[in-house]
């Protein structure tokens, strides 16, 4: 297992390197001079020179990249163009919000998706199967932010069970955190559960037809043990792959769903940065989220290796 983790970690190096080059090159692809962006049109020559110096724009681009990379790996993405705050401090403040939304959504997506998928697979063509298939088909067509709006209208505005906007951190008040995260996480999680449900249904149907399932039954093992021990571990293999893709979808979806519930996460930070073309902020957000995505994909790779002995390096 350690070997597997080692191999994956080594494979990540070129990936992260390319992402860093892509991210860095934003500044150079961007039309216009970032200095103009910061200073506006009527700046004096001295001011411009000063800012160029401060932003390190007078150094050749390759050298600039490595200076930037050296700082970035230490978590320093420089200052925002417009606010004298460190980008990393900004991100640190917003990240836990987005992460907790994405994590709770992922849990909901897994729980609902696996439950519906397995229930449908156990009785193909039954009413459970029909409803699960219908739900999954519909779920893939419903935009998560619209589901969020509908949930907010029903349970926050009308019934007042949950707050319509805002976010309370877990450390501040676990109960209020749960109330503030329920609706956004449901909106994001339910619409993502469709893919999991479809995949787990087809995987489970396939596994249940395998010889080793019949052989386990022939040994007199109970149906539930055969389903939840022998079949499930094999059926989870393709689901893990889907889940690792879903992580990026959830993280991206969180940016949008945050807007529905006026949650100050990475989403509003990114959107404001887009309007101002505040490149350091965008670079920081992209790199941080890629590191998160890659980290979770590493975890799913490990889960994959645990579930599928054939995938482990010998």
């Amino acid at each position: 297992m350690l070997r597997l983790i080692g191999q994956r970690l080594i494979a990540l190096i070129p990936l992260l390197f390319i992402v860093s080059i892509l991210t860095f090159s934003f500044t150079s692809i961007m039309p216009g001079d970032p200095v103009d962006l910061v200073l506006g049109d009527d700046a004096s020559e001295e001011q411009i020179q000063l800012v160029r110096e401060r932003m390190g724009l007078n150094v050749p681009i390759v050298q600039r990249y490595f200076i930037w990379l050296g700082k970035a790996v230490q978590g320093d993405f420089g200052n925002s163009f417009f606010y004298s705050v460190k980008v990393m401090d900004n991100i640190k403040e917003r990240l836990p919000v987005t992460i907790s939304l994405a994590a709770v959504s992922a849990a909901i997506a897994l729980f609902v998706g696996l439950g519906a998928g397995i229930a449908a697979a156990l009785r193909p063509r039954s009413w459970i199967d029909r409803w699960a298939t219908l739900g999954a088909t519909l779920g893939q067509a419903v935009p998560n932010f619209w589901l969020g709006l509908i949930l907010a209208a029903a349970f926050a505005v009308e019934l007042r069970w949950f707050p319509a906007t805002g976010f309370t951190s877990l450390t501040e008040s676990p109960w209020e955190w749960l109330r503030s995260i329920t609706l956004p996480a449901l909106a994001l999680g339910l619409s993502s559960s469709a893919a999991i449900a479809r995949q787990s249904r087809s995987a489970m149907v396939g596994v249940l037809q395998q010889d080793y399932i019949r052989a386990a039954r022939a040994q007199g093992l109970s149906a539930s043990r055969v389903i939840f021990k022998h079949a499930l571990k094999n059926a989870l293999i393709p689901v893990v792959t889907v889940f690792s893709f879903l992580v990026t979808v959830l993280l991206g979806g969180a940016l949008i769903v945050e807007q529905v519930f006026a949650i100050n996460g990475l989403g509003s930070l990114a959107i404001n940065a887009v309007w101002r073309q505040d490149i350091p902020v965008i670079q920081g957000i992209v790199l941080v989220s890629v590191v998160i995505v890659v980290g979770i994909q590493l975890l799913t790779d490990i889960a994959y290796g645990y579930l599928n002995p054939k995938a482990r390096p010998v």
Partner: protein
């Protein structure tokens, strides 16, 4: 597949295709003629009429600036179509040629572009769009270029994988062997192979782009106000949620219905291009009904005179549902006994009902079939009268089964030791430690060296012969009185077959269980069995002890099988065969099922032939008169 089923499937497919296509066609028409269909100018404000509910004047009400919601919805549809077409075309034009190219060139190009794709894919799609929009600026076309770039990675990977798959095809390799340049052949074959997945990927992309465009417009970096798009309308709706929640309904429904239609069409295409659907409820229900009605005249639970037989099967009939939905018999009027320590061979060609007989004894035929008549007694207990729970207790402890292919009958996800130990824990209530120790003993007992280490292996790490020894060890872990072995040597190398057969004999001496040995190979049966029951087309045609059966077959089919054995004929002339083929269950004649292939057939053979019980159990009217010796 029967016509009615085919029609039913076509109908249910049409029930999806027609409304979905209708929605999309209507959308296109309305989008093209938006000026003509929309009752108002979508941008005309009238603050006096702001936030009205649906009325005869404004069918869907008005928004915060008094603009007509229906008109904005119609113009939003135009934007949605344009946007998804634009982004999808960009994605295809960027992705497909690049994917074909790197698939073709391979090497460094392939490595570099694929790392780039991985990098792009590891950035959340929406965030990637945000970045590209940050660089290009906001607005519809820029947002669509961003989405086109993102979704081009899917087309790139698809095109590349098609090229890579084609490279390995036999005809390309063949071209290489004869010295032709494979590139031209490749090009000619890529187009037909890439078309179906390309169509499916396109529908997936259109759906995804529609959702993404709405999302980007919703957060304000796609379409810019005052232009109407479904996403910006939802943005407005979000602001006025507490005042006028209805504003969220029309654009939301429009998005869901459009995306749903696109996805459903994609699903149908994928299904019709991919594999069909198997299985069916109707047949199973029919069968279930039949089984319940039959169960009313259940076999009498009365004990017959105590017999020493471990297994006693009488008048067994098994039905399964065919693909066409009919319920057909696959085993009829089958009866045999196996004594303690005895091995009975069940011999016949594939499809004659051997395996399903084994599964019937275990009660494991599954939802597609079942035992409809007859009696199965194991150690005097009628298995057909047992509840599912009781039967589960019997399985593993009293009777257990070894399957044909050991590489598929062992669970790939668990170590072999765990798979044996689990049975011991569950069935025998042993502690984890004791079960593991016993599992190692059993593995050693079936002749595997270094048992303690081997126990930690996964099935794919073992050879076929070793895996089959493990499967045997598991089957015997609870000392069953009956072992069913279904072609246990067929999937193995000839060189290891004998070792497995010897193991069976060896273990039978030690454990004393009865064995039902299912095989199509008379030579194997002769080697291991005490008696042989020959089956043909779902019924027993002859049963005798091995020596008598081989020296004096009484049924023409048995004689034919013996003649066809390689050992009994010279190399020259060629191996004799039985003319004709085995009839499928639907084609079984009313009379002797072998009649069509039998050279001794008489008109009396057209009538049902009962099992003759003279000196020999045999199902042939002429059993006593024919001279059948095995032809040399």
């Amino acid at each position: 597949m029967s016509d009615s089923r085919k029609n039913a499937r076509r109908l249910s497919m049409l029930a999806v295709v027609i409304p979905a296509s209708a929605v999309l066609i209507a959308l296109v028409i309305i989008a093209i003629g938006a000026e003509w269909f929309a009752p108002y100018d979508p941008l005309k404000q009238s603050l006096r009429e702001a936030l009205q509910s649906p009325s005869a004047v404004h069918w869907l009400g008005t928004d915060n600036l008094g603009r007509d919601v229906l008109s904005r919805l119609i113009f939003g549809g135009r934007i949605a179509l344009m946007a998804s077409a634009e982004a999808t075309i960009i994605a295809i034009v960027l992705g497909v040629p690049l994917g074909l190219f790197i698939g073709y060139r391979g090497g460094w190009w392939d490595w570099f572009v694929m790392r780039l794709v991985e990098a792009v894919v590891s950035i959340p799609g929406i965030m990637m769009a945000i970045v590209i929009i940050a660089i290009l600026g906001t607005g519809l076309h820029r947002a669509m270029i961003a989405l086109g770039i993102i979704y081009s990675t899917a087309f790139l990977r698809l095109a590349r994988s098609v090229v890579l798959a084609e490279r390995e095809e036999v005809y390309v390799k063949a071209a290489r062997v004869v010295g032709a340049k494979p590139n031209r052949i490749l090009l000619r074959h890529i187009l037909p192979n890439i078309a179906p997945p390309l169509v499916i990927q396109t529908t997936l992309t259109v759906g995804a782009v529609l959702l993404a465009e709405a999302g980007l417009s919703f957060i304000g970096i796609g379409i810019q106000p005052p232009d109407a798009s479904w996403g910006t309308m939802l943005n407005t709706a979000a602001t006025y949620m507490s005042l006028k929640p209805f504003l969220a309904i029309p654009p939301g429904i429009a998005i869901v219905v459009t995306v749903l239609s696109v996805n459903l069409l994609g699903d149908v295409m994928r299904d019709s291009m991919g594999r069909g659907i198997v299985g069916g409820t109707s047949a199973v229900t029919k069968l279930a009904n039949k089984i319940t009605s039959d169960s009313i005249d259940r076999v009498e639970p009365l004990e017959e005179a105590a017999s020493s037989a471990t297994l006693k099967v009488k008048n067994l009939e098994v039905m399964v549902s065919s693909k066409s939905g009919d319920v057909i018999p696959v085993v009829t009027d089958l009866g045999f006994e196996i004594a303690k320590g005895e091995t009975l061979g069940l011999v016949g060609e594939s499809g004659c009902g051997k395996t399903i007989t084994g599964l019937a004894i275990l009660g494991l035929i599954g939802s597609g079939g079942g035992v409809t008549r007859g009696s199965i007694k194991l150690n005097g207990i009628e298995l057909r009268n047992l509840s599912a729970r009781q039967l589960q207790k019997v399985r593993g402890e009293e009777v257990s089964m070894v399957f044909q292919d050991p590489t598929t009958s062992l669970n790939p996800a668990y170590t072999v030791g765990e798979q044996i130990a689990e049975v011991l824990r569950v069935k025998r209530g042993m502690s984890s430690k004791a079960a593991w120790a016993r599992a190692i003993e059993l593995i050693a007992r079936v002749g595997i060296p270094h048992a303690a280490e081997r126990a930690k292996s996964y099935p794919h790490e073992l050879s076929g012969g070793m895996a089959q020894r493990i499967a045997i060890a598991r089957a015997l872990s609870c000392n069953p009185t009956l072992l069913i072995a279904d072609e246990p040597t067929t999937a193995l190398d000839v060189t290891v077959q004998q070792g497995i057969l010897d193991l069976f004999c060896d273990l039978q001496e030690e454990f004393g269980m009865a064995i039902l040995f299912i095989t199509h190979d008379l030579a194997v049966a002769a080697d291991i069995c005490d008696r042989i029951c020959v089956m043909y087309a779902g019924e027993m045609v002859e049963m005798a002890d091995v020596d008598s059966l081989f020296s004096n077959p009484r049924h023409p089919y048995t004689a034919g099988l013996l003649t066809a054995m390689p050992q009994s004929s010279n190399r020259n002339p060629p191996l004799p065969t039985i003319r004709g083929t085995v009839p499928t269950p639907q084609m079984w004649p009313a009379g002797c099922r072998f009649a069509e292939r039998c050279e001794y057939m008489q008109s009396a053979c057209r009538q049902p032939v009962p099992l003759q019980n003279g000196t020999r159990l045999v199902r042939c009217l002429r059993a006593n008169e024919l001279e059948l010796g095995v032809k040399q």
